[in-house]
């Protein structure tokens, strides 16, 4: 890979990853993962606070 191509790849990496992340989030919501997060977060997490 020449230097110019390397720079272009480097420049595009973040926007592509942001796009990938947004798609992954949408897939996660569609699969019901956000509901699992909500369910966990609205109840006191006994493990997290050290009760067990």
């Amino acid at each position: 890979m020449d230097r110019r191509t390397g720079l272009t790849v480097h420049r595009l990496a973040a926007p592509l990853l942001i796009l990938l992340g947004l798609i992954m989030m949408a897939v996660g919501v569609w699969r019901g993962e956000a509901a699992v997060v909500l369910q966990k977060a609205v109840n006191i997490c006994l493990e997290c606070i050290g009760i067990g």
């Binding site: 990853l17 996660g28 997060v37 966990k40 006191i44 997490c45 050290g50 009760i51 067990g52």
Partner: protein, 302 residues
Amino acid sequence: MASKKARGGRLRLWVQAASAALSNGYLVGFARGNIFKGRSKAVCLPGLNCYSCPGAIGACPIGSLQAVLGHRSYQFAFYVLGFLTVVGALGGRFVCGWLCPFGLIQDLLFKIPFFKKLRKLPGDRFLKYLKYVMLVVLVFLLPLYAVDFLGQGSPWFCKYVCPAGTLEGGLPLVAANSGLQAAVGWLFAWKNAILIAIIVLSLLVYRPFCRYLCPLGGIYGLFNPISLYRIRLDPAACTQCGACQKACKLDIDIFRHPGSPDCIRCGACTRACPHGAITMGITSPCKDGQNSRHCKKGDRLA
């Protein structure tokens, strides 16, 4: 007039305080000994902020990751990992330096005078990889594979390590909730011991938890070299004088590794550089590979 260095430090402190206040705005929870139950808790906060903190209005990304991976219906956490990818690609560990409430607590602790301050702990070059062990073993593998007869995994990192959960969730809830007081046992003592160790170490060395244990910082750090908002070094302007490393509380040789995964984007190096060779922002790199304000407008790639 306040120096540029002092102004930069104060701005970061204000942003950190505002972020901590906004992330934990449900103040009634502290008085009542319960937690917020609104729908905003389906959304992850960018920093390490326990969702069982009485004030928390969002979810902890590391807790959420373990909750999804430990759920019997899922083998992969698209939602949380997608969120972390977006945040990481935007700013790398910017969140650690500017938005994380537990980072703020460590920053404040380090400001307290102590008989000795260290640049790093002995064994730093090995200890800094411990956060990746935490990430792979306690956040991914154990919640995924160490499951009960129902196929449910535990949040191992939250349960056995996370001092943020103890400080932000455990102590205020146990203090205000008599039911929880009756339930405390050896695990609570263990987690408090870890919290005390982190507090003492925070007096001695800058951000010990972020450096050595935080799996969230480990994830964001992987994005540091390529994130949109990042540190750029102009090799033509840099004289390798080492002023940036001296100013860096994490002792990172920024002039050699501007994309270091340990950098929390505090900006101390950019203010310390006497040659203006280090910049932090979303500016485009120059055509010739240099990355600074010194490259002319026409020499930029985009």
